[in-house]
């Protein structure tokens, strides 16, 4: 089992790799993201962190999220207009955006496909990342 302390250590490691400090705010925010992986907005994160840390400010939430993105611990996603959403970054994955419910699902992305997708680029284009977003409706699984 992965303990809370392990996660904090991993976070601390990544932060110090980038010359940054581990702080209670950064830890709590990262934990919130790991706990409920529903692609929350900054305001969502703010609301979830508040009970634990009532004095935290929304500016800090934005700052910390940006920091986590910088450290490659978290990925920022923008579907359509509207607030940026955040997900803790594990494997490469696509996103499926359910237009009825507004929910976002992670779709595992095979390496082979990633290669094929990149291969449609003309030779002078050098892609550092690829993002794939599906939109549609998800039938409830049987």
């Amino acid at each position: 089992m992965v303990s809370n302390t392990d996660l904090s250590d991993a976070l601390a490691q990544r932060l110090s790799d980038s010359g940054l400090r581990s702080t209670p705010q950064r830890e709590v925010i990262y934990n919130v993201l790991l706990t409920k992986r529903d692609h929350p907005t900054a305001e969502d994160v703010f609301a979830r962190v508040k009970p634990e840390m009532p004095m935290i400010s929304i500016a800090t939430v934005y700052n910390c999220l940006e920091t986590l993105v910088q450290c490659n611990l978290v990925r920022a996603v923008n579907f359509e207009r509207g607030p940026t959403r955040y997900c803790p970054n594990l494997h490469p994955h696509a996103h499926f955006h359910d237009e009825q419910t507004g929910a976002t699902h992670d779709i595992d992305l095979p390496d082979s496909l990633l290669g094929q997708v990149k291969s449609i680029l003309p030779p002078n284009f050098d892609a550092s990342s690829v993002e794939i977003i599906f939109r549609g409706k998800a039938r409830p699984a049987a």
Copy 2:
């Protein structure tokens, strides 16, 4: 050669299909999008339309763009946070976002690949559209 009138006619057709009217504002805005396909923002469009139609308001620009999107004549794209960008929708295509220059290039998307990409979806996901965004740098072509 495709005349300006032809385009207006096509526009009028699409609009009336959706029970909407063709108006000078909608025509001018659509024309602006067709004339310079550099994925302009609403403000960009506003600036380009003004010389021709000085009384137009930014609210109308937003309204008209939204209308064109509704009629499937135009596609709205959101790279990262920041304003929505608009492109007149021809074939299915991916977008390449040059991180150095901020420019966006259309990348032609073969049907076959589109199918392969869709095939990674579990059976209970029904995608009505797929969006592919590359990020990176484009070397100037030889």
